[in-house]
């Protein structure tokens, strides 16, 4: 039996759980280096035009996934097209945890300048973060860190793949918020006219 074929079958069966290089090496009874070669061969095979799937490396595992270009066709068949994305508050909180883990709630709130218990609950419920221990000091507050699911959710191989933390950029503009102010002004004028 061809080794690339076996890898395809194994990755297919493992689905979104994925498999590590080590697991594949164990099952195939070969060195991990050999698996790297085979995965490369498989990747080349999936590059062909008539292939709709590919190998992705996420959360430390190899997985099969559909190619991006196929998304419009898949979306035609999806039962509930509304994939709920994370709220801005949850996303900011998650960004802080991702770059500063392990971190306490108080430290997160210090950076955001607002209470953050709700976004923390959301993130825990979605298994994107977890408790990773307790800080020293009074009350021994909970320390938070990201999970394997976090890597999977954002399609990251490891935490090292997070882009470097952006730096202050003076040239930037924020159009959306300007729109907000325009609307606010309109409302205020309306309110004024009604009086």
């Amino acid at each position: 039996m061809n080794e690339v074929a076996i890898i395809e079958a194994l990755l297919f069966a493992a689905g979104e759980e994925g498999l590590t290089y080590k697991q594949l090496a164990d099952v195939l009874d070969v060195e991990e280096e050999r698996v790297y070669e085979l995965i490369q061969r498989a990747k080349d095979m999936y590059d062909a035009d008539e292939r709709g799937i590919m190998i992705v490396e996420m959360a430390g595992t190899l997985q099969l996934a559909t190619k991006k270009q196929c998304a419009p066709y898949l979306q035609k068949l999806v039962e509930s097209p509304t994939t709920s994305s994370l709220s801005q508050a949850a996303l900011e909180t998650l960004a802080i945890i991702a770059y500063r883990q392990p971190i306490t709630r108080a430290e997160i709130e210090q950076i955001r300048g607002v209470k953050s218990d709700k976004p923390l609950q959301t993130l825990l419920g979605k298994a994107l973060i977890k408790e990773v221990g307790r800080a020293e000091g009074t009350g021994r507050p909970i320390l938070y860190g990201t999970t394997k699911e976090f890597l999977d959710y954002f399609g990251l191989k490891t935490l090292d793949e997070l882009p470097p933390l952006p730096q202050w950029d003076e040239q930037e503009e924020e159009r959306e918020a300007d729109l907000f102010f325009e609307r606010l002004n309109e409302q205020l004028q309306e309110a004024g006219e009604q009086r």
């Binding site: 069966a13 979104e16 999806v78 996303l91 990251l156 609307r183």
Partner: protein
């Protein structure tokens, strides 16, 4: 026309301040405290006028800004101070500036995560296949998971984009017509090839297995297929008769 302005348009006082800084092209390293305080207060008043709940954090920041403004107005006694005190005296804006710069980084990082979230949503994966059938010797599965593994599995389930189920299978599940399965088997064998008996059972579903089995029996009875076995315990092979 009524607009529903949400207070959560801003993620808090820092977010609002960042907005003001951009809008009025303010140099973050030299914030005009009087100006920004005025603008900030205008926003707070507007919110109150619209009878929106102003979260306490916004009011705390308002107080901080006003305090800072008054500190900035105090005359500096540089001439009268000892040299070492000169170094100790801090710009009252320093801390706020640092806080804004720090917060801004993560706001940007959140934006990058949003992009990745959207990209990732374009990839469809597949739930793991049920491999219990392959666990022959019934080796007990070890249990080394934590509550987050469990939550992770649930998150994946809830995130899983289900494709519409074919209407046919629902009907087929209840009663798969044996006649249809017989036709399918003949179709598979039409090239005159021998086929491994087990390859005719691609599904684990019990009903499907039973139907396939009954279809094979019926085809044998009608003399349309031949079942061969080379020796005892060897695999069974199916062939179409007359080919």
């Amino acid at each position: 026309m009524h607009y529903h302005v949400k207070l959560d348009q801003f993620e808090g006082p820092l977010d609002l301040l960042l907005h003001l800084i951009h809008r009025y092209e303010i140099d973050i390293y030299d914030i005009p405290v009087a100006q920004i305080t005025e603008q900030y207060m205008a926003y707070i008043h507007a919110m109150k006028q619209l009878q929106l709940d102003v979260a306490s954090e916004y009011l705390v920041m308002a107080a901080t800004l006003i305090e800072m403004k008054s500190k900035m107005l105090l005359p500096k006694h540089e001439e009268t101070l000892e040299d070492h005190e000169l170094f100790i005296e801090e710009d009252p804006r320093e801390q706020l500036m640092q806080q804004l710069i720090e917060y801004k980084k993560f706001k940007e990082a959140a934006k990058q995560l949003r992009e990745r979230e959207e990209e990732r949503a374009l990839l469809f994966t597949k739930p793991p296949s049920d491999l219990t059938a392959y666990a022959t010797n019934g080796a007990p599965l070890a249990l080394d998971v934590d509550v987050y593994d469990m939550l992770g599995a649930l998150a994946k389930l809830l995130r899983r984009k289900k494709l519409q189920k074919p209407l046919h299978t629902k009907v087929a599940r209840q009663e798969i017509p044996i006649g249809r399965r017989m036709e399918e088997i003949l179709q598979i064998l039409k090239n005159g090839e021998r086929m491994n008996f087990y390859d005719l059972f691609p599904y684990d579903d019990r009903e499907q297995i039973v139907v396939t089995f009954l279809a094979l029996l019926e085809l044998m009875k009608r003399n349309e297929i031949i079942v061969e076995q080379e020796n005892n315990f060897a695999d069974l092979y199916i062939r179409r008769k007359g080919d």
